[in-house]
Amino acid sequence: MGLTLEHVDRIVDGETHLCDVTLEFPSGSRNILLGRTLAGKTTLLRIMAGLDRPTRGRVLVDGKDVTGVSVRKRNVAMVYQQFINYPSFTVYDNIASPLRLQGVPREEIDRRVREVAEMLRLTPLLDRLPAQLSGGQQQRTAIARALVKDADLLLLDEPLVNLDYKLREELREELTAIFERGRSIVVYTTTEPTEALMLGGNVVILDEGRVLQTGPTDQVYHRPTTMRAAEVYSDPPINYLDLVVEGSQARIGEQVTFALCAHLEGLAPGRYHAGLRANRFFLKRRTDRDVALESQVELSEINGSETFIHVNHQGFPLVVHETGIRTYKMGSTVTVHADPAQFFVFNQEGSLVAAPEVDPGRTPARR
């Protein structure tokens, strides 16, 4: 089954939630909807599920218009941010409930429930009630309820966001394996760029109700076509510096100049925005090309085993991602090094004009 959205708009009380969304999800594909909160991710899922009708546009399944078809008549499964299970049913009955409603024979229900329960490691918990489970187990049950249906379309709306860090990592890995085995179209929404990269497949970058960019997750990561897409696909948000190109030289601010190199060579003279992710800034000099940016430390936050240092370089707020735990005094001066060969360059309209070459040995964070 293939799902197509054609020029879908969703307007509620004069407020545009989705604007001209055209997307195609081929059979068996894995798709990540990446966007910040209020980008329209959930709205889009609800339209795909058939819970809401688009204000304009069409939803097609295998070329057939299903825009007005009720959710009850579609073969979809959905997992929510909250842990949604029937409170008075045991885990077993919860997983079995969609099959019972479909009128599947008893033995088959039993076989399928046990199979899915095994896959999500719920077998020892089958007799418990949702209230007796931990958050992670409750969400596993909800995911099992969705998987057991073997639906054509599996929608997951930020399913891991309410779990703690460890459980999230664990469940994400399991989900990746489960998605690989299934035949359904998977649509998974998230706000986290790393999550999109870990799950792989295709990514749809959504911002303020519009599709900014689509493509394979890693390719989009390496070539965000607009500044907005780059911002959404970076955590912490990508850093921008003003860049002025004059002949074969480029200048950042007033003092820092460097020779155009690698992918920057063909740039016409003019003003640009240089984009650089936090993990491409270093406090140590690493290559001869590096530019050194004198900056003041404004804040340093420790996140797990990493440190994010918020600095200010002549009015440009920058975030530097350092591995390991370090402390920096507020107001102290540090020199931030960046390799111009790693710069994304956007023109004044915000479109990508030059992207760094991808070093095949250093694809980010994928497992």
């Binding site: 959710v71 959905m78 929510y80 949604i84 045991t90 479909q102 009630l129």
Partner: protein, 290 residues
């Protein structure tokens, strides 16, 4: 040092002790005092032990008042809880209708209790009451001052009119607290609206319904003002509920000893029933029985 800290802790909880003493223990102890003595006047008191309790326990009129009270409270629960849930389910979920419904529902709750009795006396009078006159004109003889069944129906109708809104408001609050995603999930599963009610709404409302059952049981078991104004306990003794009978003993006959003993028994009965209800409702649907 540790001792000093312990003493200070006692000092800090002293205000609570004082408040509880004045709000509960001291008034309660005066009742206990009366229940075990025969008091004629200042300085004229005789200890009678369990005498008043024995007398009260063998009082036939008390037995029938207790049975009447139990029947009344059970009927109140059987009618008001389902009706309140139905009203809550039928109420609009958004828009101006919500405020309109909430105000309309809250109105009976805002009326003083003896005024409610008066309203219903006038409303159901066979000669001039809107309801009483209409029913009689339809050919159905109806007079709550003369016929016990009519008196019961009237008291019950008044009680339901007065207090069902409270149950409805509680149930409505419980319903509104269910995340939208539950309904969506049920819709995606293809569950019927009965299944949604039985397996999502009802279990999710358990907490508020427990409170509703407890409140309505306690309040209806202690009912006084409305039937006192409406029927005065009559005709005969047919609507004499426990508190009306208690007031007859205490104020009407001025038998303070038996009245005090009766009060304590009454209090213990309410406490016992509430405990039983609470325990039962806590265990419903938690799966211990499965």
């Amino acid at each position: 040092m540790e001792k000093w800290e312990n003493n200070r802790a006692w000092f800090l909880i002293l205000p609570v002790f004082v408040i509880v003493a004045f709000s509960a223990i001291i008034p309660l102890m005066t009742v206990v005092n009366y229940s075990v003595q025969d008091i004629f006047g200042p300085g004229q008191r005789f200890f009678v032990g369990m005498e008043w309790f024995r007398e009260v326990i063998h009082d036939e009129r008390l037995h029938s008042a207790l049975l009447r009270q139990l029947a009344f409270s059970c009927m109140v629960l059987l009618i008001e809880i389902p009706l309140g849930v139905l009203i809550a389910l039928a109420m609009p979920k958004k828009g101006w209708g919500v405020s309109a419904c909430l105000v309309l529902l809250a109105l009976p709750l805002l009326i003083p209790w003896n005024v409610i009795g008066t309203i219903w006396i006038i409303f159901t009078r066979p000669d001039i009451g809107l309801l009483g006159k209409t029913v009689n004109d339809l050919g159905i003889a109806f007079d709550h001052t003369a016929r016990p069944l009519d008196a019961w129906i009237t008291v019950m109708a008044m009680e339901v009119w007065h207090w069902t809104p409270l149950v409805a408001l509680l149930a409505y609050a419980g319903l509104r607290a269910i995340p939208e995603a539950y309904y969506q999930a049920a819709k995606i599963d293809g569950a019927s609206s009965w299944a949604v009610f039985r397996h999502i709404q009802l279990p999710k409302m358990r907490g508020v319904l427990t409170i509703a059952v407890l409140l309505r049981f306690m309040d209806s078991f202690l009912i006084y003002a409305e039937p006192f104004v409406l029927t005065g306990g009559g005709p005969g003794d047919t609507t004499t509920f426990l508190s009306i009978y208690l007031v007859k003993i205490a104020v009407g006959q001025f038998d303070l000893g038996p009245a005090a003993a009766f009060s304590l028994i009454y209090f213990l009965i309410v406490l016992l029933f509430c405990f039983v209800f609470y325990q039962a409702l806590q265990n419903v649907g938690t799966g211990e029985s499965r």
